[in-house]
């Protein structure tokens, strides 16, 4: 299911939110700040909220 996820750039450290579905076909992603492809999904926003 596509839902907002927290993403982190492994190059510049920028944290941002972008839609992601771990089961769907992958798309090429890049950091909105530095354009690096070293971006990583941390966890879904919903899950993060539930934790906090």
């Amino acid at each position: 299911m596509v839902e907002p996820w927290n993403w982190k750039c492994m190059r510049c450290g920028h944290d941002y939110v972008e839609e992601y579905d771990p089961k769907a076909a992958m798309t090429e992603r890049s950091c909105p700040e530095c354009r690096s492809n070293s971006v990583r999904p941390i966890e879904s926003v919903a899950k993060a909220k539930a934790k906090s």
């Binding site: 492994m10 076909a25 992958m26 798309t27 090429e28 990583r40």
Partner: protein
Amino acid sequence: MMDAGRHPNIKLLTYSEVADVSGYVGNFKVTVRQKARYVDATLCNACGECEKVCPATHPDEFQMGLSTRRAVYLPFPQAVPSAYLLDMETCLGTNPIACGKCAEVCEKQAIDYDDQDELTVIEVGAIVVATGMDVYDPTALDEYGYTRYENVITSMEFERLICAGGPTIGHLIRPSDQKTPMRIGFIQCVGSRSLRDGAGYCSNICCMNTVKDTLLIRDHYPAAECSVFYIDIRAFGKGFEDLYDKSREAGVKYIRGIPGEISEIDGGNLRLIVENTTEQRMETHEFDMIVLSVGVRPRSDDASIRRLLTLSTTAEGWLMESHPKLKPVDAPTKGVYIAGCTESPKDVKDSVTQAGAAAARVGALLNAGKVTVESITCHIDQEICNACGLCVDICPYGALSADKKAKIKASVVDAACAGCGTCGATCPQGAITMRHFTDAQIIAQVDALLAEKSEEKVIVFACNWCSYAGGDTAGISRMQYAASCRLIRTMCSGRIDEDFVLRAFREGAPVVLVSGCHFADCHYIDANRQTVKRLYRLWKYLEKRDIRPERLQLEWISAAEGPKFQKTMNQMEELRQTVTAEEIAHTVEVLAKEEEKKRARRAKQAQQRQSAETEVPAG
């Protein structure tokens, strides 16, 4: 079409669809479902008597719904074979027979209500995919009122209206009152070049189609006024600019600007508001009829063909060629070729050119009688394979087969394997060896590069086709980049095993970069998607062990991106300088312990396997 139908070496299977494809280049087995047409095509002589008595009607698809057809019908006048078919959805019913008039009047007794779909298996050496495209449906664009206003039509509907074989026998009329429209407006780029409608690309054919239509109108109805609203006219082909000039000379008005809204006024006439961007003013125009020059879309029902032939698509959904310049009609799967609008929007001339090229490629392949494949393919050690089937799931070419339930171990068809190495990096048992890019060869390179002053090195895994070539581009352009970056070439980034990355860190590498082709450029269909999944896992793995995940980097670099290669390498060097000796020592220690555990686990598994084998009674 007639020529193809009569050719002794061509067998046309119309009203059919591909149900399954198996095999590989030179040895494909294609299962075709021939749909029941309920009329025996070998007996039908297209006399049309059945159509005359058929009481059931349906909008005629060929005439874009501008006229109707009967339940028993000829799809279009030039259809091959020239035989009727019965549309069971429209027919009043055959179980029990509700009408049966078509069967009563058919002298040839060609009507067969009990006809069934038939599956035929065909053995072929090569496959050409030419499945065409769809036309954009502008109903969603509320501002143009398509389907709300009768006199707003699409360019495809207009095409049928002015065609001699169309519902009006070529007489131009407008739908609301069947009068000849004397003021006609054309709106370009409807469903094209607009990200709002999901198609940022140019549909290629619409501009010249409109130019041709306006010339036809002016030729047949000299008093008719034509206005074309456009973003820019793309008349790039041979003779196209001349045609555009002729259209303007014939009095067609070209107004730069895309209308914002259409509204209906008295008597079915239409008013549109547009910003004339040449004269920078708002204008209002009135027309008798407006034609929406609609763009094209990839076929919505192409998915099964893509899946069966392991084809990949662009972000918009057009089929990807193997290489845009060097192999423009080859699909990434060997023995499969693409032609026409399934690859990208194009006109008849370009489609014919591409079809000719595809036919020539097929001819060259089949006439050779044998296929030379690259020696870079995978080899499966049957002793080690445990038939888990992971490699089968991720192979982009469907070259591997295994059966987990039946415990049939993995095997590979060398002719179908393209040598990306993704299976080798995925196999948890280490049963797959990539010829020329074996684990031992790559690990030996890692070890050699880090044998001395490892803390001063950045290990860069680069794919052969893009990232490594990007390094070449940077090199031949004399771009200076950090000397600490040491490249290890693999055919695809999908080959980069998690163990290679961990080995580099264990040997003291401060930073590891994994690089490959951009998604759209992947030379192995979608093998580099596996790279990303692996990186996600590795980042998590490193983080869990208190190793800074930022030390592992990922970058997609194309062969043309020399400057990006240079910038990335310099960034890696900057990152390397932030990694302390303590960090490296900690990483080496942690990963060495992990390796110990892994070895112990594997030894235990091997022992268990061995003891299980010895326990099996002989015979």
